[in-house]
Subunit: 98 residues, 2 copies
């Protein structure tokens, strides 16, 4: 049986390699992070709603900040206190939602 | 003509007095802040949507954090870099939305 994404822990080098294909995402400690900029507060909230739907479907949830037209996304796998393939998969879904 | 809420700046003592009637809200520097706890990630997101609607109606917007079942609200009036009556009014609307 394949190891679940959430148990596929990535070290710093493996994280950086995965992020090379995710524009604007960067590693921050044991998380990956990106700030998205929109045209208004409501566009920010609509983006958060699209991300929430994707996150629920994956059962893997980002930490989110909303500051008017900017939305920050911070991903980490709490179970391992590390970045895993589940975070990379969620980042890809967030990119699709942006 | 009455001074708009957003121009009614509150000093620390006046802020504390207003917050005495807003359970769980506290002054943090030049902002007021509260963390709300819900039963799930989606309940958090639904709360944020209710708050967003109220904020749009007031044209005054909170900074929001979502961390799974916890939602943080931070209010401040950027124009004055201070807490104003607009923040107190928004906090009351957020309480109603919780």
């Amino acid at each position: 049986m394949a190891t679940p994404l959430v148990d596929q822990v990535l070290d710093g080098a493996a994280t950086d390699e995965a992020l090379a294909r995710l524009a604007g995402w960067r590693r921050e400690g044991k998380t990956i992070h990106k700030v998205y900029k929109f045209g208004s507060f409501m566009e920010s909230v609509e983006f958060v709603n699209r991300v929430a739907k994707a996150a629920e479907a994956m059962d893997h949830h980002p930490d989110i900040t909303i500051s008017y037209d900017e939305v920050g996304m911070t991903l980490s796998t709490h179970k391992h206190d590390a970045v895993t393939q589940a975070d990379i998969a969620l980042a890809r879904r967030i990119e699709e939602a942006a």
